[in-house]
Symmetry: C2
Subunit: 392 residues, 2 copies
């Protein structure tokens, strides 16, 4: 287990957080929701390996760790946000964690966020950091993935720090909006973690004349980039699939259409095999439309893959030359080739992503102004290897 401590020079009243919508949230989530009502926040203490969800005595454990962290930093326990990720159901080794806190505090430094980005990972292959400079200040965010990742949010912990002064209420509105357009528009596997957290903290030390609009744009950029990073490093992901949905009734309809595609196992498997099986793409969209209470006119649907028209006027638009181009598009978007060891174990070889290309799916519904970009991954042997015996 790694303990990661993020401490502010001074507690701040300007902080925001968005948590999982899972109905069985972890103890740190329950506590974190209470912290939103506190007047200030001074530090975040994060552990990996065990998520402290529905474990006997879980709330007490989270409180004890907050109290011990506060004592070391000269803060009140109400100023500490605890976060946990890892196995669901196991009990935190509270005493051992408290014993390790002084060492974590002694390593606090102001030079780099990389150790924190490295400390919070579980099955991630590499740390994820995004940063935007703005006027005389900066926004920097770190994230962990990498499975149990759908909307609301993911087994995903994201911490975004800024020195730019933005008041609490504005931070909270902006964070929810940024999350809706980023972390809520990705899916590794359609599962939703019990521990998802995105926190945003402003130290307020830089009060230059950066507009709130510029701040919001930069925050959206950080969240979108980190969200795509989470998918690119999703468990077993070898292709990132980006669906751009347009012409929907409204944005939410477009969002759900994209989700239906990136969560369709058969299409995800086809992408893994560099197989442009567009029939499975149409199946996935047709399943979504067919399950709606109101009948949708599906005849206006137009699909592209890698910019090539593949479906229009109710029939496929395919020929052998186009099929070859589609296979090439899929191969270009592959992060690495799949290869098992002699005993059938598939292991991802990448330390950092080899490129940032996506399998590009265009979905024009032809019934309104709604649009959304939804990002997901393929379904691979590496995903099954990772998840058929993660605990053992």
């Amino acid at each position: 287990m790694t303990l990661t401590l993020i401490a502010l020079d001074q507690p701040t009243s300007d902080f925001a957080a968005v948590f999982t919508r899972n109905a069985f949230p972890g103890a740190p989530i329950i506590l974190g929701r209470q912290r939103l009502a506190e007047s200030s926040l001074g530090a975040i203490i994060i552990n990996n390996k065990i998520s402290n969800v529905c474990a006997p005595g879980g709330s007490d454990a989270a409180e004890k760790i907050s109290t011990a962290t506060a004592a070391i930093l000269g803060l009140d326990s109400s100023q500490i946000l605890p976060s946990s990720t890892g196995i669901i159901g196991w009990t935190l080794p509270t005493e051992a964690m408290i014993s390790a806190l002084p060492a974590a505090a002694s390593q606090l430094q102001a030079d780099s966020i990389l150790p924190a980005a490295e400390g919070i990972v579980t099955t991630d292959l590499y740390p994820k950091i995004r940063s935007v400079s703005l006027g005389e200040g900066r926004i920097v965010g770190i994230a962990k993935g990498a499975g149990m990742t759908e909307p609301n949010l993911a087994t995903m912990l994201v911490y975004i720090l800024t020195d730019l002064a933005v008041p609490r209420d504005t931070l909270r509105t902006m964070l929810q909006s940024a999350v809706d357009q980023s972390f809520n528009r990705i899916s590794i596997d359609s599962d939703t973690s019990t521990s998802d957290t995105v926190a945003l903290i402003s130290s307020g030390t830089v009060t230059s004349n950066v507009s709130l609009r510029a701040f919001g744009d930069a925050l959206n950029e950080i969240c979108r980039d980190l969200a795509e990073d989470v998918v690119r490093n999703g468990e077993g992901v070898r292709h990132v699939i980006r669906t751009t949905v347009t012409g929907a009734k409204d944005n939410e309809f477009a969002h759900l259409t994209g989700k239906a595609v990136v969560n369709a196992p058969l299409f995800k498997c086809a992408v893994a095999g560099n197989d442009p099986n567009v029939g499975r793409l149409v199946q996935a969209i047709g399943r979504f439309l067919g399950n709606l209470p109101d009948q949708v006119d599906a005849s206006a649907l137009r699909l592209t893959m890698g910019g090539h028209a593949i479906f229009a006027n109710g029939v496929f638009q395919l020929n052998p030359t186009k099929e070859i181009a589609l296979v090439e598009h899929l191969k270009q978007a592959e992060l690495y080739s799949s290869a098992p060891t002699a005993d059938g174990v598939f292991t991802p070889p990448v330390d950092y992503p080899t490129h940032e290309r996506c399998v590009e799916i265009g979905i024009e519904i032809g019934s309104g102004p709604g649009q959304a970009i939804v990002i997901g991954g393929d379904l691979t042997h590496e995903y099954v290897t990772e998840n058929a015996d993660y605990r053992s």
Copy 2:
């Protein structure tokens, strides 16, 4: 490609069919819906390999094959139900199929339905037949799976024949009811085929005093058994997962809760690895409950696996002895061991299911009288192998 012809001795007015709800149905489905309005049905002509979905000229192809089949049998084309399954988007080789029809007709026989059950398969490992004798008559059904299988219905073709006289309207009501409790309560991979069909045909030759209730019960039994057969022979399935949901607000709520579990990739992977990762089970239920518009009291949830209590009063009920028993339950339900060849290809070795045991999940929600049994499979390397390059 295999052509399978099922012909009645005499056309009958007593027939019923339920089709996919996918918004992009195949041409045979569109034609099949029209056939329901016809006065009689005389034969079904089925091909595998190509599903005739959204292919240019698909409706014409289905009509031509109906007409050619009718000509050979001395029927009208309106009395023929065409069915197709296989790759979506490809065009049927209509002329070659018409040339092969006389050979298919010459093989018609009244001894056994086994050749038909064998003829309709695609990736199925074995034919699926269920039969119930009733008074002086009988109901016999055949089914194909094996992927793209969720509700409404599955890449699933099911043909149920009976000599017992039951009028058309009653047949149709009974079939919809039986399908709702069987084929709509299974999921291999949450995908929904564009070609799903369940047809029920009564020749009406036996008019013994079998009650409609007894007939309905036998039909339900056939459908339930065939539905479980479809899952047990689902693509890559090594464990059948049976969720028994009780105490829900209503039956539909129970149904959706069960679906949320059997469609949760991380839990399915854990089952594949004989890993009783009950945290992922709680996550899956919590995701479903957390996404509902109304808040649900999750504190009354009680879970069992293999009859062992694993969750109650908001916390896990686990200990090392129980974990060993849970692993044993999973191993007992395994259909075969997973083993790759030297080049990493996983191939299911079974010709027929080795047993009929399930991973038994009990979910008591504690808020009402609703209940449902929902059946699904695990997520395995064999599934990925089968679907990453099915077309090639």
